[in-house]
């Protein structure tokens, strides 16, 4: 097995956004490419519209299933305010990819909770790292053919960062293994749109 550098990826969002599926696709791709992979998520009560957190740790020497605070390399937020909930995992060198489309909890409509503006969210994230990429993944998913594929758009963004030790071909092969036919095509389009969007943001250069 090839030795690879530690890379800690955190994916966050809300119940129903397909965060757990993203980590399954990631992990399966890692195994195919013979890269060691560990991770964990919070299931149970956190489903049903609550916050969802999943982390995938790639590379040799990783043992624990939980990324240490301050050691996240890439944070993928499928919902913008959820990025803030995980701010303590970030470091100066972290890269954040943020879907700007919010999902307000019902407590906001009840008047029992506030909801931060995108500016407030970005402002706080920028206190830790200035490497934040924002995109409308939900819009791109629609372009791909289904709003349901916003999570796969975000998966594409992760590969678009150029930081992944897993090849894009493997990522897509795993995606195609999971989704057949028309849904498979939509998801490949969604993946590509996310990938390109981040490449554009990085002007084609992988982040160091």
């Amino acid at each position: 097995m090839a030795k690879t550098k530690e890379l800690n990826v955190i994916i966050c969002g809300v119940g129903g956004q397909g965060v757990v599926l993203m980590s399954e696709l990631l992990g399966n791709a890692a195994v195919r490419d013979d890269i060691e992979v560990k991770g964990s998520e919070v299931l149970g009560m956190a489903q049903r519209g609550g916050s969802v957190f999943s982390n995938i740790r790639l590379g040799s020497g990783v043992y624990a299933p939980l990324t240490p605070e301050g050691k996240c390399d890439v944070l993928v937020a499928v919902e913008p305010s959820e990025a803030l909930r995980n701010v303590h995992f970030l470091a100066k060198s972290s890269l954040v990819v943020l879907n700007s489309r919010d999902v307000k909890p019902f407590t906001v409509f009840l008047g029992k909770s506030g909801y931060p503006s995108l500016e407030e969210i970005l402002d706080k994230l920028h206190r830790v790292t200035d490497r934040v990429i924002t995109l409308d993944a939900t819009q791109l998913a629609q372009e791909a053919g289904s709003v349901q594929s916003a999570n796969v758009v975000m998966l594409g963004t992760l590969y678009g960062t150029g930081l992944m030790p897993i090849t894009v071909e493997t990522a897509k092969a795993v995606l195609q293994g999971r989704f057949k036919g028309k849904v498979g095509e939509i998801n490949i389009r969604a993946f590509d749109l996310g990938y390109e969007e981040v490449q554009k943001a990085l002007k084609g250069a992988p982040v160091k």
Partner: protein
């Protein structure tokens, strides 16, 4: 990229790698070990073990059942072991409380076929009412505990647990935790034991009949068996001692904490400066290794989640060996909640003076600044959940009682999806303790307070532990209203079948038949989405003198939508007529349905979320909520 043949959890492909959930790895371990009988009751974080095994039972020739509760699951597994088959019971930590009675005597009986209990504890209380540490239960019952530090080890240990159980003829426990059961990892598969034994009952009064005359002897034999196991654990590969010459600090790390400890040491560059003892068997402890470590360092840190279970034993070993050094544990490692690399790094930093890998104070500052911005996002009942209707109906009936008689009803809830009704705006939960408590506590309250008491629990919970308190209410004629929220499944834990909603064509047991047979005179079954009838039944039940049972029956909305899709039946959402809606927000303030959205003063329904239950239409004072997708007006 390697071209891999499609591997599944049942593939007999030793050496191949599969990406698995911790619980799937445990299930795989059972398959590799040739387990023939699995019995379980669902509960987070244990459920995926048996979900997996039930789904491959036919293929593997295994008998896997969702039992009615954990006590029965334990007994089913014990019976199989007695008959010479390898058997496993799996449950969450509080489930072991329910199984505690047979479990305490299981050690007396010994094991013929390998017998393993998987206890999935929940440090951090991600989805449980408490944070109990089941290693203590094991200790009380003379049950050796294997505690994995990784997903791979969880599988390997489980396979080995069956070997050990048969070697020593004794029950073993595999203790998992949420962060392991719900971890994911690459796992190297082992060979599958395909041996199929024929169950055979061999009479053996001395071991199998636990009456005092026999069981005094059984206890002595159990203690002897346990002493042998104690001697053997020092040689198990899960306990590993790495001594570093000149190390002042020795660290003992148990189970999942081992990974956090390894990483803290690595991040701080202390690999060659501390000695490390990895514990895979917290009970019985590998005492020889502990003594070796204790006598080679000047200070020890015990790292473990929850209680000082290993720490206390290490202190006894030190005392017995006359080794006087400082042994740290819960003085520097948190006792409540999950551990992670951070608290371990901080503790090591405090003891060694080494710099922690990250400026945690800075992280805390940013987190503190961020906290006020975070939206409050509690888990909530799904859009279209029938429990929302039932709980709203209970609220309406209680409000009417209060208007008439001035007293506030007390609402007793239970553990299930409906427990989410505790939050705004339903607020339908004044007290909730444990499964079955929804009826048990209600029945007790009814004997001592004047206010009406309404208890509720789900159908799976009813069969699990709701029937005895209902009988108790009849026995003692408690003046109580008992509501069964019957959604035809075990919803909270992922739709497992139960006696009222079997997976196949087994006979259905109806809660109303059980209630009537138990002597309840007031029994009514209603559809909670018929709000008027449901409130009426509840009002009459509350007024009724003596125990009254109301069953609100409507299939779980997730299952109903699945069923509709399967049958090609259209799901018709509701919409808000903007001409009639004045934005009063009554629907939101009464129901808190996640499909109802309010922007400024405009209320709309998210048609992608709304499965069309129509509850909001029934509470709207302006009749502004209408079935069907909006006709392009919006």
């Amino acid at each position: 990229m390697k071209e891999l043949a499609e591997l599944t959890i049942t593939s007999d492909a030793p050496g191949a790698k599969l990406f698995m959930l911790g619980n799937e790895a445990i299930a795989r371990g059972a398959i590799e070990a040739g387990v023939q009988v699995v019995a379980a009751y669902p509960g987070t974080p244990s459920s995926e073990i048996t979900n997996t095994l039930v789904s491959v039972a036919k293929e593997t020739g295994m008998y896997a059942e969702w039992s009615v509760n954990e006590k029965v699951a334990m007994e089913v597994a014990m019976a199989a072991s007695v008959s010479g088959l390898r058997a496993m019971a799996a449950m969450k930590h509080v489930g072991v409380n329910v199984a505690h009675d047979p479990l305490t005597t299981a050690g007396y009986m010994g094991a013929r076929g390998g017998l393993v209990l998987v206890s999935a504890d929940d440090p951090g209380q991600w989805s449980s009412q408490n944070e109990q540490d089941n290693r203590y239960i094991a200790r009380q019952c003379y049950i050796p505990v294997l505690e994995p530090s990784s997903v791979q080890e969880a599988k390997d240990m489980l396979v080995d647990a069956f070997r050990l159980s048969e070697e020593f003829k004794h029950i073993f426990m595999l203790r998992s935790v949420t962060r392991l059961s719900h971890a994911r990892s690459d796992v190297v598969l082992g060979a599958i034991n395909k041996e199929k034994r024929e169950g055979e009952f061999v009479k053996d009064l001395h071991s199998l009949v636990c009456l005092p005359a026999y069981s005094r002897g059984s206890r002595r034999r159990m203690i002897e068996r346990f002493a042998k196991i104690k001697g053997a654990v020092n040689d198990l590969p899960y306990n590993q001692l790495k001594l570093n010459k000149g190390a002042k600090l020795g660290i003992i790390a148990c189970g999942i904490s081992y990974g956090y400890t390894l990483e803290a040491i690595r991040y701080m560059g202390l690999e060659d400066k501390v000695s490390l003892l990895k514990i895979g068997t917290p009970y019985p402890l590998p005492e020889e290794m502990v003594r070796q470590l204790l006598s080679s360092v000047s200070e020890v840190l015990v790292v473990e989640e929850l209680e000082p279970f290993v720490e206390d034993q290490v202190k006894i070993v030190a005392e017995d060996a006359g080794i006087i050094i400082k042994i740290h544990g819960k003085d520097v490692i948190p006792i409540a909640g999950e551990l992670s690399t951070r608290p371990v790094a901080e503790a090591i930093s405090g003891l060694t003076g080494a710099q922690p890998p990250v400026n945690f104070a800075e992280l805390d500052r940013i987190r503190e600044e961020t906290e006020p911005l975070l939206p409050f996002r509690p888990p909530t009942l799904c859009a279209g959940c029938p429990h929302r209707a039932s709980l709203h109906a209970i609220n309406v009936a209680c409000r009417r009682w209060k208007r008439e008689y001035g007293t506030e009803c007390v609402l007793v809830s239970d553990i299930g999806c409906y427990a989410l009704g505790v939050f705004e705006p339903l607020n339908a939960d004044d007290i909730a303790v444990c499964m079955g408590g929804g009826f048990g506590i209600a029945t007790g309250l009814a004997q001592v307070i004047k206010a009406p008491v309404v208890g509720h629990l789900g159908d799976s919970t009813f069969f699990h532990s709701g029937i005895p308190p209902m009988i108790n209410a009849v026995f003692h004629q408690a003046n109580v209203t008992l509501v069964i929220l019957d959604n035809s499944t075990t919803g909270m834990t992922g739709f497992q079948p139960h006696p009222g909603a079997p997976a196949g064509d087994e006979p259905k047991i109806m809660p109303e038949d059980v209630a009537r047979a138990c002597g309840v005179k007031f029994v009514e079954v209603v559809d909670p989405f018929d709000l008027t009838k449901t409130v009426d039944a509840l009002e009459r039940a509350i007024r009724y003198k003596g125990p009254a049972v109301v069953i609100t029956r409507r299939m779980c909305s997730i299952l109903e939508q699945r069923e509709k899709r399967r049958q090609g039946v259209a799901i018709v959402p509701y919409h808000v007529d903007p001409e009639k809606c004045d934005g009063c927000g009554v629907c939101i303030n009464l129901l808190g349905c996640p499909a109802i959205i309010k922007d400024d003063d405009r209320v709309t329904i998210d048609s992608s979320q709304c499965p069309g239950c129509g509850l909001c239409a029934q509470v709207c004072p302006h009749k502004a909520i209408i079935s069907g997708v909006k006709d392009g007006k919006d």
